[in-house]
Structure formats: C-alpha cells, structure tokens
Amino acid sequence: MPKKSFRQAVNEALRQEMERDPSVVVMGEDIAGGMGAPGEDDAWGGPLGVTKGLLARFGRGRVLDTPISESAFIGAAAGAAATGLRPVADLMFVDFMGVCFDQIFNQAAKFRYMFGGKAKTPMVIRTMYGAGFRAASQHSQCLYPVFTHIPGLKVAIPSSPYEAKGLMIQAIRDDDPVIFFEHKAMYDDEDEVPDEAYTIPFGEANFLREGEDVTIVAIGRMVKFAREAADQLAREKIDCTVLDPRTTSPLDIGSILESVRETGRLVVVDEANPRCNMATDISAQVAEQAFDALKAPIRMVSPPHVPVPFSPALEDEFIPSAEKIGAAVRSVMAAPARRAA
C-alpha cells in the first residue's frame, strides 16, 4: 500500500469527493491563495498546503478563496449546506472559532432540531488544532471539547493519515455538520493509505492494541504517544489496550466500557485543557457506568489548566508525552486493589 502524508491523505479525500459529487465545494482563507494578487494561482493551496491542486482541477467556481471574515464564510457554509451544497470550509486555526462560533453552534448545529427535523446541514469545517508549533496561546489550542458539548455537531479527530482520509470522506458524505480536527504537528506523518476512496464510520472506536492490564483511551495526536508508551510498558510486562475513539461526537462509550470491564483500569489521554475536556467526560461516564469494574482510580493525562505557552521550554512541559502516559499507567498498576464491598 502506498505511503502518504496526513496532508496528502486529506487532499486526496477532498479531491475524490469533489470528483464524485459536484455539490462539494471548498472555501476558506488562502484555500488556493494569491487571489487577486499578481503572482501564481494556487500560491498556497491552503495555509499548510492541504488543498493544493484543487483549484487547477475544479476551478474558482468550487474552490472559493474568502476574505478574512470567518463569520461570513462559516455562516455561508451553513447557509449553503442548508440549501443544497456540501461545503467544506477551512477554519484555519480552531482558535479562530471565537470570531465565528455563533454561525456554528447557534446556526448550523441547531437547524435540524429547531426546524423540526426538516433541515439538513451537510457541512464540514476543517480546522487545525494542537500545541507543539511554538505558535503560542492563540494558535495552539485543542477546543474540541467545546464542539463536542454542542448537540447537533459531530466531531472527528483523526489520529493518522489512514484515519484522516477515511474520516474526511465520511464527514463530507455525512448529512450533519462535522468539525474535522487536523493536528498541525501531524501533517508530515506518513502512513499506508489506500488510493481508492473509503469511509470510516463515526462513533466506532479503533482498538490499536489489546492488553489485559490497563485501557488507555487517547485522542488525536495523543494516540501516537499512547502507543509509544504502551510499547515501553510492554517491556515492563504491563499489557495495555490502546483505544482511539476517532470521533468525540458521537462517542463510542460502549467500546470504552467494554474494554474497562476487561482490564479494570483506565487512563485517558487528552491534549485539551483539563477542565471539562474529553478525559473528564470519558472518566465520568466510566465512573457512572462501570464503577464496579474498576480496580484502581481512573487517571487523566492532560496539560495543566493554563494557556499554551510560547517558549519551547514551557510548551514541551505543557504537552502530554509518552513518559507522562507511562507514569500514569504505572501508577494505576501500583494502586492497591479495591476492596470488594
């Protein structure tokens, strides 16, 4: 199978869906780039080159550069979706949700319910998230818990190039609004990615490794770190399950519970700030529904409750690591077995 980068995987998904369905359009700031400027067409192909080449293939009618007006074009994507297109809007950094969130959570997310089931809003918002780029506090956040909180939105967070292509094609074909999170530090990651189009269903977690001792649930980029930690722990004879939920809305809580019932121990790894993040949400659901199965307290591995700092010395300290995950797993293994009631 051919190796492709995360960037190529998303590009290929967009290209194949635009070829398959003429109602798919892409829009965003610099989505081609250089609009109205004297230099090259498709100068950027998206801020990180993800949409490069779509302009040449599909033209200005379907590859729509926008002014820096997130409210206008994210709202336009919602309005276009409700009236028959399948727009994929590029919200360059998820941190920019602050200037367009109304269009997402009060408009797009609400149409179907608020209009009595008579609206469909098949839009995708692609957005970059995550720390590690020395991009500081306004360009490094995760924020997917905020979107997960909103009924009516779906949230996909691919953990590899293979996942990115399949989840993106699913997102475009999905009839609900989907927020699609791309970690900015993963674009050059490579993976085996099939040439043909394929979908990965939402709400079905992926078991990357199965072990008897501890369940590690990890989100997005943290999946890679969790696998690294599990490899190290295996050498210490600690046998981990690594589970990637793939989507936080819908969330495959069933698979998480099933795994915790087998291992009795849970570590949740989430790059989002620790208050009301996916780790707290998953931990609460497991505590509520599988308390009897737990042999040790649940552990959450998240950054501290601070903005993402700029200095590499501080940012590296902020981001969860394989070492921190390993330490959390060792601590749940060391916890004394809970006395039966």
């Binding site: 409210s71 276009a80 979706a81 297109l85 209009f115 009595g116 469909k120």
Partner: protein
C-alpha cells in the same frame, strides 16, 4: 414590475394576514396561552410583502427574531405557524422552534433567527448555492437596525460583494434596537455603508408598499442578472414593543397611537388603491374578513392541537440518529 389587480389583491391579502396574525398573537400572548418570547411585526408589513412578492420557492430568505411577517410573505403555512407559536406537535417546526425559529426550507424560508445579525452570513451561503447550481435564485437577508450594527452584517455584505452573489440585504429600521433608538445606535447612513462595500444602496419609506416593491424589484432583478448584491434601507414603524410584555417606557406617550394614525402601511395602501380606482373597498373588505377567519381558525385549531410527545425530545438532533 407592473402590478396587476391580482398582484394588488395578493399584496393586500398577505399584509392583512400578517396584521391579523400579529394583532391576534398579541392578545393571545397577553391572555397567557403562548409560551416564551414573541416579537411582533405589525406596522412593518409592506417591507416583507413588498420584497417577497418578487420571489418564488427557488429563492431563499433568512429572517430575524421578528420573523412572522417574513414567514407569511414567503408562503409559510399560517396555521402551522400558529401551532408552532403555541408549541404544538403540528407546528411548522414540530413545536421545537417556536416564534423565533419558524422555518420552512421547502418554501425557501431559512428561518426566523434568535440571534441579531444571524441572517447575512447564511444568506451568502444560500446565494452561493444558487450561483454554483445556476438556479437563477436569489437570497435575501432581513435584519433590523440593530442587526445592521453586527459584524456579521458587515462581513456578509463584503463577502457578497467579493463573491458577486445574487443577494439582497434588507435593513428594516423600525427606529428601535430593543429599547435603543436607531437614531442613536446607527452611526452614519446605512445607505452609505452599501457604497462602502461596492453595492447599490437605496432608502425607501416602509409605509409605502409601492416604493418598497419597486426598489426591491430593481435590486432582485440586478441580482438575478448576476450583477451582485444590493442593500435596501427601509424606514418603518413597530406598532408593538420589542417583545410582548415590553412596557415601552422608552417611547413617547402618544407615539404608537400617532404612528398607527399617520404611518400605517396598510391604511396607506388602501387609500392609494381605492383613490386611484385600482381596487374597490368591498374587495378589500372581503379579504379582511377572510384573513380574520383564517386567523380565527388557526388559533382555535392551535389551541386544540396536541403537544409533542415526550419522546420527541430526543428526535431530530442529527440526521443519522
């Protein structure tokens, strides 16, 4: 666009239906039968009807919190609207939207909107759909003088111009954003804002149905020809409060009575068409009776209609589950 007798009768029927609907919702709300927040359009009818007379189902409008008039003018079912406002299962949105969210996408009504300035970006999208699909449709954003001051309106106008969308922005300036006078809150001249975004802007008197109809017709024709968006600043009057229950202490004591006497777009229309001999009073009176009967039926049916079943709480959050 010339208005023939049928057009005039239709305009009168729609404006009278809106007025009767709103006057009745006012009394029903006061009587306690209607839950939630209600914002009435009475006094502004010539704007919704004058604009929407140019539209068909392929055209899309998006409205405001004061949306009943736009819904009726765009062809939403009046009885289903009334059921919606009463929170009944047979409502246009199955009782899940209420007064502020009445929508019927099959009729090109993309929703009243509880967020001031909600419509302009959405309308850019609806206009984009028309442009990409080549339907010949246009999309129209209604917003108030309050909504005109939202960034969404500024961004929407800019994007519509940049993308040369078949769109129209209608600023219905009823003098008040909630309790705050537009004379104070609307800096400069809204028509000049249009100029700033490279689109034609026109001011019309919302008391004058014919002026609205003509100005909207020109803007809509321009949009249909692919010449881009326009702005219409309609000066009109709000006969009720911002919301039902608003004591309107911010208005002059005799202000509403004076506006009803001097600035009623329905009275103006009736005088104009009867004096010109275009329609006779009897034909108009007959429509008045029919509108009243329709609203009477709508209210009695709404009151007798079933509420949604509790299980409906969980349905229609997503398409797929």
């Amino acid at each position: 666009m010339q208005l023939n007798r049928d057009d005039l009768l239709r305009a009168w029927r729609e404006m009278r239906t809106i007025r009767a609907f709103e006057e009745r919702v006012h009394t029903e709300f006061a009587a306690g039968g209607i839950p939630g927040f209600v914002h009435l359009y009475a006094g502004e009818e010539a704007s919704a009807v004058g604009v929407c007379m140019h539209l068909s189902d392929r055209d899309v409008i998006a409205s405001t919190h004061r949306g009943h008039g736009h819904c009726i003018a765009k062809g939403c079912d009046v009885k289903a609207m009334m059921q919606e406002i009463f929170g009944r299962a047979g409502g246009l949105c199955a009782g899940k939207g209420g007064s502020m969210h009445i929508a019927d996408i099959s009729r090109g009504m993309l929703g009243a909107n509880g967020i001031v300035g909600g419509a302009p970006p959405l309308v850019c999208g609806a206009a984009l759909t028309a442009k990409v699909r080549g339907t010949g449709g246009v999309a129209i954003a209604f917003c108030g003088d309050g909504g005109a001051n939202q960034g969404t309106t500024a961004e929407g106008m800019n994007l519509a111009s940049v993308w040369k969308l078949p769109a129209l922005f209608v600023i219905e300036d009823n003098g008040y954003a909630e309790s705050t006078a537009s004379a104070w809150s609307l800096a400069g001249d809204p028509v000049k804002r249009a100029e700033g975004y490279g689109m034609p802007g026109t001011r019309v008197d919302g008391r004058d149905f014919f002026a609205v109809h003509e100005a909207a017709g020109e803007a809509i024709e321009r949009a249909r020809k692919g010449e881009g968006p326009s702005l219409l600043h309609v000066k009109l009057e709000r006969f009720f409060g911002h919301f039902e229950g608003d004591a309107m202490t911010y208005r002059a004591a005799d202000e509403v009575a004076r506006l009803r006497a001097e600035r009623d777009c329905l009275a103006s229309f009736r005088r104009r068409v009867t004096e010109a001999g275009l329609l006779d009073g009897a034909a108009l009176d007959a429509i008045d009776r029919e509108a009243a009967a329709l609203i009477e039926e709508a209210v009695s049916e709404a009151k007798a209609a079933a509420f949604p079943r509790p299980a409906e709480l969980l349905t229609d959050v997503y398409v797929s589950y």
